[in-house]
Amino acid sequence: MDTLRFITCGSVDDGKSTLIGRLLYETKLIFEDQLEALKADSKKFGTQGERLDFALLVDGLQAEREQKITIDVAYRFFATERRRFIVADTPGHEQYTRNMATGASTAQAAVLLIDARKGVLTQTKRHSRIVSMLGIRHVALAVNKMDLVEWSQLAFDEIELAYRRFAQDLGFETITAIPLSALEGQNVVDSGRSAMPWYDGPCLLQWLENVEAENRDAQQPFAMPVQWVNRPNLDFRGFSGRIATGSVKPGDAVRISPSGVASRVKEISVWGGAKGSATAGESVTLVLADEVDASRGDVIATVSHPLESADQFEADVLWMSEHPMLPGRPYAALIHSKSASISITHIKHHLDINTGAHLAAKTLSLNEIATVNLSFDRFVPYAPYRENKRLGAFIIIDKLTNETVGAGMIHFALRRAINVHWQALEVTKVARAEMKHQQARCLWFTGLSGSGKSTIANLLEKRLHVDGRHTYILDGDNVRHGLNRDLGFTEEDRVENIRRVGEVAKLLVDAGLIVIVAFISPYRAERQLARSLFDGGEFVEVFVDTPLEECERRDVKGLYAKARRGELKNFTGIDSDYEAPLEPEIHLKTLGTRPESCVDEIVHLLRSWRQAD
C-alpha cells in the first residue's frame, strides 16, 4: 500500500475543514468518543445549527476555534483499502502563504477548493502559483458548495473553463475539476449522481486513490547526501543518509562531491546485516571500498553522473519573516545536509503572486516571492529543484534569532565550480605584510555619530605612522563621497554601504596594510559579515562607547538637532537602532577619558597580541 501526501487549499470560507472532516468521517477515521465530543462541540462552537459541524473535527487549536479560522498547517491521516493518505490542511489567508508553501513542499498532489458561488478568486490564483512553484504536478479543482448553486452544470463548467485558461502556464500535468458539496456529502466519497446526473467523472476520494504518487526520483542516477558519518570504532566507517535519487547496490562506482574523489560501494549496511540494493527515499548506511573522506553535506553519486557543485545560483525565494530580507546581509542556509552562509546578491524580480506580474524590488517582505541571485560562502553539491526537490531546496535562517526566515528553490548555477579557480598568487598577504614589518589587520571602529570614532582613528593613525607602520583610514569622508555616493541611509543602503567598505578593507589587508575603518555600522549582522571576510585575528572590533546623551550634547556637526527636528531621517540613535557589540575585541569607554588614552590602550593591546602571535 502506498502513501499519497496531498495539500488542501482554499479561501477562508470555501469549506476546507468541512471537506476534510467529511473525508475522515466517511472513511471511518472518526471514533465514537470523538463523535460524542463533536456533537458537544457542534452545539457550543458550531456554525451548522443542529447539524454536525465537521470543521470542528480538524480545527485543533482553541485560539483558532474561538476566532473561527484555521491558523496553521495541520496534518491528518486516513486510509482506504487502496492507499494511506496524509493531508496537509492549510489556511487560505494572505498572511499565511508560508504555511501553504510548507504544506505544499512535501505534497504530491493538491486539492484546490473553490466556492461555486464565487468562482476563481485572486486567492485561488495565489494558491495555484504557490502549488506550481513548489513543484506539484497534479491538481484537483474541488468546486464546493454546489448545493448553493442548485447543482448547476453551467456554473461548474464556467469555473472549470476559467481555471484551465488561467492555469495553462503553471506547468500542471493534470487538472481534474470535481463538482461537490462537502456539507451534503455529494461527490466526496460517494458518487454525486443523484444531485448532479450530468457529471460522470471521479468523486474526490476516487481521484485521490488514483492520482500518480509514484516516486520519479527513483528513475534518476543515484545520489545521496551524507547526513551523518557513522564511525563507532576504527573498524567501521559508514556514510549514512537518505537516498535522494536513483538506486545503489554493492560494487557500484561512485564519486563524492564536491571533492571529486571516486570509490566503490562495498556494502549497504542496515539493521541486522547488509542489503542487496537500496533506492530513492530509503535511509541507509554505505560502506565504501576505499578509505576516502566525506563529511556531512557531501553527496555520494554515481561515478558517471557526479553531482555538480557551485556557489552562485539563481533561485526562487519565498520570504517568511516579519523582518524584510536585505540583499547583502549574511544568512545561514541549509541545503540537503549542507549548512552554509548565504547572501542574496541581487533581486531579479519580485513575483506578484496575485497577478503573476514581475516587479522590481529592493527588499522582500513577509510572504513575498522573488527570483534572486544568491551566493553561498562555499561550494555546495546541488541539482535544480525541478529535477530533484531534495537536492535543490534550501531554507534560510536568521543568524541572530535562528528563525527560519525563507525558503528557496534552485533554478540553476550562475557559474560552475569547474570553471573557477581562485588565482593562487605567490606573493601572499603574509609576504606583503612581512615586507612592511607588520601584521596586517582591520581595526573596525563602531559607535554612535559623535562618539569620537574619527578623532580616535585619526590620532591612532598618526601614532602608528610615527612607529613606521603602513596604514590607511576608511571613513565616511573618503568612502561616502566616492565609492558609495550612490547610497543613502535606508536600512538596505546601510547594509550595502558596510558590505562595500568591508570588501575594500579586505583588499587593503590583503595588500598588507593596517586598515582603520570608522563607520557607525549600527547593525551586528553587517559587522559580523565584515568580520567573516577576514582570517582569524585579523579583524579587531573597536567599540567606541559614548552614551547617546553625551553624543547629542557634543553634536559637533549639528546632526542630532536636525534629526530631532525631523529634518534628518533614519538617524542612528534617534529613529534608527544602534546594536551595540556584544563582545568587541576592544571596548573604549570614552566618558571621562581623553582620546590620547584611548589610543594608548589600542596600541598597547596590538603590541601584546603581536608578541603573543
Binding site: 502513501t3 496534518y75 530509503e282 535511509s283
Partner: protein
C-alpha cells in the same frame, strides 16, 4: 522491508533521528516505556547500526507506573544496552504527590510536566525526542516534527518554525530547546503493524489477560498493587482486559478484550470504534486541555 508504507515511514523517522544526532549538542530520547517508545527505540537502533545509539534515554518516573512497565524498562535497557537515566521530581516525591490524593491534573503537572522541565535543565539536554504522533489528538495535528521551545520550555504557537521539505532548522540560542517527534506521521495502526512486522518487544500489559480491576468513571482501572486504595464497597473483579495506552496506572484505563497476540491487537486496532486516548483520563479535563498542557511544557 517488504511493505512500502513502512519503508517510507521508517526511513523518514531514521532521517529525523540522525539529523538530531548530527546537529544537537546534547540530545536525549525520552522513554515512556509504551508502544511508541518501543518503536522509537528500534528506529534509533536502526539509525546508528552497527554503532551504538549515541545519546542516552530518559524516563520521567512519576512513581505511579505499572509494575510491569518498570520491570520491562530495566530489562530492555540491559538487553539493548542503552544508557538509561531515570528522574523523579524530588519536590513531588517529598510531598508524596499522587493522582489519587492530589487529583490527576495536579499529579500530571508536578510529576510529569514539572519533572520533565527539571530533568532537561539538570542534565542540560538541548534536544529531547518524544514519541508523540499527530493522529493522537487534535491539537497535535499542527505540531511540528521539530517543536521549538522558548527558554523555560514554553511552547508558543506563534514561535514555531515553518517546516519545509525534510529540511529541519536545528539552530537554537542558549536556553532554548527543541522537542523532536520522529513518529509524527505514524498512526496507531501503523505502530501496531510495525511492531508485528519487526517483532518488537512491548510491555505485556498491551496483551489481554485476566486481571483484577475495578470500575471507575465507567472505565476499568487495574488494581496493580496497594497504591490504589479501594473505595468502600469496591471489590476487585477479574476481567480479561488490556491497555491501548500506558500512563500512570490510575490514569490509564483498560479495555475489555480478547486480543492476546499481536495479530489480535492489529485486527482490533484496525476495527476500533473508539480512539486510543479514550483510556486517558487526562484528556477529559475539558476542551483544549491538551493544548493548555502543551503550552505549559507537557509533552
Amino acid at each position: 522491508m517488504s511493505d512500502g508504507t513502512f519503508a517510507e515511514l521508517e526511513s523518514e523517522s531514521i532521517e529525523i533521528i540522525r539529523e538530531v544526532a548530527a546537529t544537537a549538542a546534547k540530545p536525549v530520547m525520552l522513554y515512556s516505556i509504551g508502544k511508541d517508545s518501543s518503536v522509537m527505540l528500534r528506529l534509533a537502533q536502526k539509525a546508528f547500526y552497527p554503532g551504538p545509539i549515541p545519546f542516552p534515554f530518559m524516563h520521567i518516573d512519576t512513581k505511579w507506573k505499572f509494575r510491569e512497565m518498570i520491570a520491562f524498562r530495566d530489562r530492555t535497557a540491559e538487553e539493548v544496552g542503552f544508557k538509561l537515566i531515570t528522574y523523579t521530581n524530588p519536590r513531588g516525591a517529598a510531598e508524596g504527590i499522587g493522582p489519587i490524593t492530589h487529583g490527576s491534573a495536579y499529579h500530571t503537572d508536578v510529576m510529569k510536566t514539572e519533572a520533565l522541565k527539571q530533568a532537561l535543565d539538570v542534565y542540560g539536554f538541548d534536544v529531547a525526542f518524544g514519541g508523540a504522533r499527530r493522529d493522537e489528538e487534535k491539537s497535535r495535528a499542527k505540531e511540528r516534527i521539530f517543536s521549538f521551545r522558548a527558554p523555560g520550555h514554553r511552547w508558543e504557537p506563534k514561535a514555531q518554525r515553518p517546516e519545509l521539505w525534510n529540511l529541519y532548522n536545528t539552530r537554537i540560542n542558549a536556553g532554548e530547546t527543541i522537542r523532536v517527534f520522529p513518529l509524527s506521521n505514524w498512526t496507531e495502526a501503523d505502530i501496531w503493524q510495525y511492531i508485528r512486522l519487526e517483532n518488537i518487544p512491548i510491555v505485556p500489559l498491551y496483551f489481554a489477560k485476566d486481571r483484577p480491576v475495578v470500575k471507575r468513571f465507567d472505565q476499568w482501572i487495574l488494581v496493580d498493587d496497594d497504591r490504589l486504595p479501594l473505595e468502600p464497597g469496591e471489590t476487585p473483579e477479574i476481567r480479561k482486559v488490556r491497555f491501548r495506552t500506558l500512563g500512570c496506572y490510575p490514569l490509564s484505563a483498560g479495555i475489555e478484550s480478547h486480543a492476546s497476540t499481536l495479530d489480535d491487537i492489529v485486527a482490533e486496532t484496525l476495527g476500533a470504534t473508539t480512539s486510543e486516548r479514550q483510556g486517558r483520563i487526562i484528556d477529559h479535563d475539558g476542551a483544549g486541555s491538551m493544548e493548555r498542557k502543551k503550552q505549559e511544557g507537557y509533552f
